[in-house]
């Protein structure tokens, strides 16, 4: 099961990359990146998953004493949380950029933003 999830994550990354590489519209690229980001998150979570264990929260179901046997690895989850937040930060920034670029050049076509080169 985990392998399926992980494979899905990887495929999402690849799909996202493909979109980002082939769309010339800035917004489409950003959308593609959000897909890839989601893919990464899926991969990370799947890496931390362990069959038959429960979430790393101590409550009535999981007592502190036998937590070692009962919970899954909490670290990837913590990492994903951070990654998600950072991802939205970057996405917001890219969007702001896209807006600014559109305002300036009246275009969202990345192939036309080549004033700087060489």
């Amino acid at each position: 099961m985990v392998h399926v999830v992980m494979a899905t994550g990887f495929l999402l990354i690849l799909i996202g990359f493909y979109g980002a590489l082939t769309h010339r519209n800035l917004l489409r690229m950003i959308v593609a990146f959000t897909v890839a980001d989601t893919g990464v998150n899926v991969v990370i979570v799947s890496v931390g998953h362990m069959r038959g264990r429960s979430a790393p929260i101590l409550d009535r179901a999981v007592a502190a004493a036998d937590a070692v046997q009962r919970i899954i690895d909490p670290v990837p989850q913590a990492l994903v949380l951070t990654a998600i937040v950072i991802g939205v930060g970057v996405t917001a920034l890219m969007l702001a950029y896209a807006w600014r670029i559109y305002r300036q050049h009246r275009t969202l076509d990345i192939a036309r933003l080549t004033a700087l080169k060489g």
């Binding site: 990887f10 990354i13 990359f17 070692v68 913590a78």
Partner: protein, 230 residues
Amino acid sequence: MVKRLVALALLAVFGLVFATLLTGYAPDAELNQTARYYAERTAADLGAANIVTAIIVTYRGLDTLGEVTVLFLAAAIVGLVLAEGAHDRSRMRPPVGELLTTGTRFLVPMILLLGAYVFVNGHLTPGGGFQGGAIIASAVLLMLLADPLRHFSHRLISAIESLAGILYVAIGIAGLFLAGGFLDNRILPLGNLGELASAGAIPLIYSLIGLKVGAEFSSMLASLSETEEP
């Protein structure tokens, strides 16, 4: 066309890399040393029931501080980028439906409350500062949708955001002096596992994070909404 072929070829290589990672992956049967440490010690050392929260707020607190800073930066830069595009408000837009306006008035306090609940209970239940902050921001979003011309006090938002940030850093530094190190939550009593007032400074920090994240998202949304349509 060439571009797409090249892209496919390149991604094929990456696919190969990923496939290798995938096939080489075997789930752990036991927790590794780090996870084991967290599973065994979190409750005793930090007094937090939600281990993920403990990791986020304390063990990897520096990451989280960086994380909120990412949002802070994003908000600041979005503000910076959009500052020049803030449109003049003389142009009127058609009013939004009555239903939405009324619904908003009713919903916003509840959403805010829910957000607060989520981050205050972060150390006990799933959720925390980020999720709570996002929920708070959704209230702001709702208000924006209901009344696109509503002018949010950037000053207020940024004051909340800054105060929360400064307090967060201050608590972190307090850890240096009062406890074991930067962002150590044990500057406050740990209390009993599972209670609201437990886990030392974790609820406090997560609340601050919630406020801060909420403010940051709100600030972003507000900035975006204030831009003129070209």
